[in-house]
């Protein structure tokens, strides 16, 4: 099956947890939880607005993690945030708090391979999977190292640009996913089996299906957060995510006619 990983900015509204539960109910395989940062330099205008809105509401990392702790979430949660929030309490303490709140993974878009060692070690010691990102411009030797060191997933950044909705999926998405798959095929360890998620600028069911065909799954953020900012209810959002789920499942059925492709997330939270 193809993995569907919606993104939600934590604290964006008072009832943000309801959106999380709606995503789960609609068939999300995991949820990326954006921990809002004051200077989200890799995010486009939608996630910037969502982050500003959350911070203006006064949420803190502590308040977010405390809210999540009591919630019956079955799907894996992956934190998406920026390096300064990780380093401020120290990578070890930050990962400890994530693990305590039930998170499975962590993505830090401004922490490239060369700066990642201390966070990789801290994450590993607390059972947090640090997922690394690959970009269309990443050279082959570097891509191979990212594939070897990434945990949980391998995140294929579909295009050169920020997060945000686009009219079409970039052609670089399929090319990059294929390059990552080729690098995985050259390995015999666990890295060879990590799901490749395609993200950044994936908008709507048709693009989700296209991105899903390119990799093992898709991350969808801005397209959903735009609806939340515009006042969509949790029920509205659940319908959106169901449509994405259906599109991905259709893409998967078409693909299995050619070859069996199984990418699963092993284990479940709690």
């Amino acid at each position: 099956m193809k993995l569907l990983v919606p993104y939600l900015t934590a604290g964006v509204t008072e009832n943000w947890i309801d959106y999380l539960l709606a995503m789960q109910a609609a068939g999300a395989d995991a949820v990326e939880i954006g921990l809002p940062f004051s200077d989200p330099m890799l995010d486009g205008v939608t996630i910037q607005q969502a982050s500003d809105q959350a911070l203006a509401r006064g949420v803190t990392i502590d308040s977010i993690l405390a809210e999540i702790k009591g919630v019956p979430v079955r799907v894996p949660l992956i934190a998406f945030t920026y390096a300064n929030l990780v380093f401020r309490p120290g990578a070890d303490e930050f990962c400890r708090r994530l693990a305590e709140a039930g998170f499975r993974g962590l993505i830090v878009p401004d922490l490239p391979l060369d700066e990642a060692a201390s966070v990789e070690a801290a994450a590993a010691s607390h059972g947090i999977e640090l997922t690394l990102l690959v970009a269309p411009v990443t050279p082959d030797d570097r891509l191979a190292e990212i594939v070897a060191r990434s945990r949980g997933y391998i995140y294929a950044v579909s295009r050169m640009g920020t997060t945000g909705e686009r009219d079409a999926l970039a052609s670089s998405a399929a090319t990059l996913a294929a390059r990552i798959k080729a690098a995985q095929a050259a390995r015999i360890d666990a890295a060879s089996a990590l799901p490749v998620l395609v993200g950044f600028g994936v908008s709507g069911p048709a693009q989700a299906a296209e991105a899903g065909r390119a990799g093992d799954g898709v991350v969808i953020g801005s397209a959903l957060m735009r609806r939340v900012l515009d006042g969509a209810t949790p029920a509205d959002l659940e319908a959106e995510v169901r449509a994405l789920r259906a599109a991905l499942d259709r893409a998967d059925q078409e693909a299995t006619a050619d070859h069996a492709s199984h990418a699963e997330i092993s284990g479940h939270r709690g």
């Binding site: 004051s38 500003d52 390096a83 401004d110 970009a135 411009v137």
Partner: protein, 383 residues
């Protein structure tokens, strides 16, 4: 005595610096570091830049003895006159170097962030001269208070993009410029205006600004006791300090009290480097608040964080009212209207002269980083 970093391969200044950028920008940073290394070692590049600095930017800038103030304060004060450089500040030194480099790398356009607009004007100037397209990102709030520089940029043919997110100042303009760079990394060079950002910027910009310190060192009749410059990101201070790092001179950076990353910040990662950052307990970056738009920035270049941490340089701060008073005192004593940014260094000297930090008889070299025309409206408002 620790001196400035001379082997920049890792982009580290002690525990500061580095390259905290999205994967999408890593190859571009690598390419830029290689290109600058090559250019800086190439006599032809150095000659071309040296020629532009002389016949276009007006270098060397004079070292002016501030005779009246010196007599009044009981210290010997020399002013390194970057306010007399073309476009009105030291920013021209950096932009000419980076624009030449951009052309050498085959880039068609430059992207720049600006606070007070001095870097934006300089970048637009260099782009016009060298046939590059310029897009300058500027916070909406800074656009309101620096109208003159906005008009200068558009007159020079640059596109000024208002930034409406966050605090609508330099920090947000920098975010937006980096976002634009990710989206156009093949065609565009990110012409960063200060000694912050990911490697190679802190090193490259300091090298391009060291002409300030090298000139001052050769112009000064003696090695001063104290070398002082204002610090926002810290490029004029870095360039000035570079000329004196291997002397016994005390190096003093003066920050705005409302943007004092060294005095009030903690180590953090913002805009691609680990340095000192104003931030809260979670790591949310604080909004700076200074009358000088060019110092309205919650971070500082990583080399300053390093020099401060090892005690080679000291960092102090002054308040807005001291800064306004300093502009007026310098103007009336010496007939020089300096920028609000530069006036921070002046204000520190005015405050400390005769005290323990700056004993009577001290010989002080102060970099006057820019001229104050742009600030006349602001000064008018504070009467």
């Amino acid at each position: 005595m620790p001196t400035l970093m001379t082997t920049p391969a890792a982009g580290r200044f002690g525990g500061f610096g580095g390259r905290f950028v999205p994967e999408s920008l890593v190859p571009a940073c690598d390419a830029l570091a290689a290109a600058f290394s090559g250019a800086w070692a190439d006599p032809a590049f150095r000659a071309e830049l040296g020629d532009l600095l002389a016949v276009y930017a007006g270098r060397p800038t004079p070292l002016t003895p501030a005779r009246n103030l010196s007599a009044a304060l009981g210290v010997e004060l020399l002013l390194k006159r970057e306010d007399l450089a073309h476009t009105g500040s030291h920013k021209i030194n950096n932009v000419l170097g980076q624009a030449l480099l951009a052309r050498r790398m085959g880039k068609r356009r430059i992207l720049a962030e600006t606070g007070a607009g001095q870097h934006g004007v300089a970048a637009a100037t260099a782009a016009a001269l060298l046939g590059l397209e310029a897009t300058v990102f500027m916070g909406e709030r800074d656009i309101e208070r620096q109208q003159l520089n906005v008009l200068r940029m558009t007159t020079l043919g640059a596109t000024v993009v208002p930034v409406t997110t966050g605090s609508r100042t330099l920090k947000d303009a920098t975010n937006e410029a980096m976002r634009a760079w990710v989206a156009d990394v093949d065609d565009a060079h990110f012409l960063l205006g200060s000694v912050g950002g990911p490697h190679p910027y802190p090193w490259m910009v300091r090298e391009l600004q060291r002409v300030i310190g090298d000139e001052a060192r050769s112009q000064s009749p003696y090695v001063p006791d104290v070398v002082v410059a204002c610090v926002g990101g810290g490029s004029n201070a870095a360039g000035t300090f570079a000329g004196f790092a291997d002397t016994p001179a005390r190096l003093v950076g003066v920050e705005a009290a409302g943007g004092a990353a060294m005095s009030s910040g903690r180590p953090g990662v913002v805009h691609g480097a680990r340095s000192m950052v104003l931030q809260d307990a979670d790591g949310q970056v604080a909004e700076a608040a200074s009358i000088a738009a060019g110092l309205d920035y919650p971070g500082i270049g990583p080399e300053h964080a390093f020099l401060g941490s090892v005690g080679r340089a000291e960092y102090h701060c002054v308040k807005d009212d001291e800064v306004v008073a300093a502009v007026r005192r310098l103007a009336r004593a010496e007939g020089i209207i300096c920028a609000l940014e530069s006036a921070h260094a002046v204000a520190w000297v005015l405050r400390e002269a005769g005290g323990p930090l700056l004993p009577t008889g001290s010989r002080v070299l102060l970099t006057l980083s820019g001229r104050g025309d742009k600030d006349m409206a602001t000064l008018g408002e504070v009467a």
